[in-house]
Amino acid sequence: MIWALFKKEFRDSVRDKRAVFAALAGAIFSPLFFAGMMTFMLEKTRSVDELYVEIKGQEQAPHIVALLEQAKVFHHALPQEGKTFELEGEKKEHSKIELEFADDFAERLQLGKVAEVKLTADHSLKENSDRVRRIKRVIEGYQSQLVSMKLMARGVSPAVLNAIHIEEKDTSSPSSKSALILGMLGVMILVAVFVSSTNVAIDCSAGERERNSLELLIMQPVTTWQVVAAKTLNSGLFGVAGGTLSVVLTAAVIPFIPLHKVGMAFNFDLQLAFTIWALLLPLAFFAAAFQLLTAFHAKSFKEAQSYIQYTIIIPVVVPMALEFSNYKNEFLNYVPILAQQQAISQMIRGEFNSYGALLGGSIITALSAVLIAKWIAKSLKSEKVVLGL
């Protein structure tokens, strides 16, 4: 009986071009978005940008200019208009910062007098504070070297200048940032599973009720459990299809992300892909049951759509928050959605070790799906739900 119900549900959904398209779009969009974001971020963290400033009186301080060039700060005259200029056929952006060495700079330095250099920049621009700091750091480095040498020449240890030594450590290495974003990959795949079954779930619940065929259906010699089970299976299959597509695309796209440039290796091999895919199976049916529950309890198709928009935030926000806060607790491995996210995140980071938790989480997710379906079956016996009162 469930087979007859399922066959019709599937046939009905597959012919719904809008639902199929939405399922595909959801699955395709996330890995591509992910790959794009990842590539963009890596390109950005990998290289320190070249900085073009106008340096006046270069001949006064050839050493400093050389040091600046090492730090990728180059001289270029201010462009006539706008911010860009052409260099060797390439368009470059000028920072519009000016560095001017005084005419007597070299002379005063020689005499051991304070020499002047003028740094002109628009400090209201956010990016300029970084640029100014970069330039200052180079000049100050040169200065402290100079001072040290002068002190040594006078027989004084340069250490007297440093009463306190601050040791700075930047923990945001490019690879830890990448790990964070890779962790979001898991979230993206989870979302694909949810988004792919949304339209189908709404259409066969709130939609079917709105088209007046739900009541007639449950007047037939079928139990509400059979009806709900068929609808959950059908919506879940769309989730599985979306998840599969998403995993396959991710596997296809990852080799193109320049992870090696930050010294990261991420091997999305067949075994990993298959394990993630297997993890998605119970989740897809859980997502389907969850969305059916929401849609059946909404009064209309429209209301169901807006409710589901809100409920879909849960699988996005909660795992994302956990991913960023790095909160770890054994119990998370057994909560539907979080169990899958934790497992995928661990696998991607290469920290995965427990198939037991994975299996436990999957079983609990599948059981939750059945329980939710049972609940819907029970509520379909109430007029309120069947008629959308």
Binding site: M1, A4, L5, K7, K8, R11, D12, R15, D16, E208, R211, N212, S213, E215, L216, L217, I218, M219, Q220, P221, V222, T223, K381, E383, V386
Partner: protein, 244 residues
Amino acid sequence: MLEVKNLVKHFGDVKALDDLSFAAEDGQITGILGPNGAGKTTALRVLYGLLKAEEGKGFIDSVDSQIDPQGARKKIGIFPDKFGLYERLTAREQIAYFAELHGLQGDALKTALDRVIKDLDIGDIADRKCAGFSQGQRMKVILAQALVHQPQNLILDEPTRGLDVMSTRILRDVLLDLKSQGKCILFSSHVMQEVAALCDRVIVVANGQVAAIGTPQELCDRTGKATLEEAFVTLIGSDEGIAA
């Protein structure tokens, strides 16, 4: 044969069914008449086993629908008041779906489909998707899916609403034909001429109770009115009429 006995049902404080009992016999067309909110649809839902009554029972061919709703529903075909077709299925697929829900499979399914499509003369639209069907074509598909498993009992809720003359005539012919085959037909309607022309027996329901039962002629005689409509108004409008 359809039968409800001493149904009592409340929705909140409202008493929807108040000790309601009636029966529809085989080989007859029985009409249920009643103003909106009289409890007709609620009584039918209890009869399908879709709603639980607080007291009383519903029987379909002596199967208690409160105890075995699936078994009871196997013996009826339902023509609902609001009918929705699955727009993305063809008429044949739609009818086959309901046949399968009634347990028909394989050759039996195919034979049943071919027969009902021929009987209702819908061969020309059988393989078209239901989207875009006229109201008359929809009526025929719904009727076909209610009859495909050859139920002994047919329940129709406001079947002629929104139908043109030709469709109404077809429906009437089908019902008379089924009656001659000894089937039990129960239908609710607001159209008095329809009821008067078709029904062997009329059950007038008001306020969750049976106000009167009889042939259309008997009801007219009892109230001293010339038309069923006048009789109906008298019956539901005064308590003395109910007592009579």
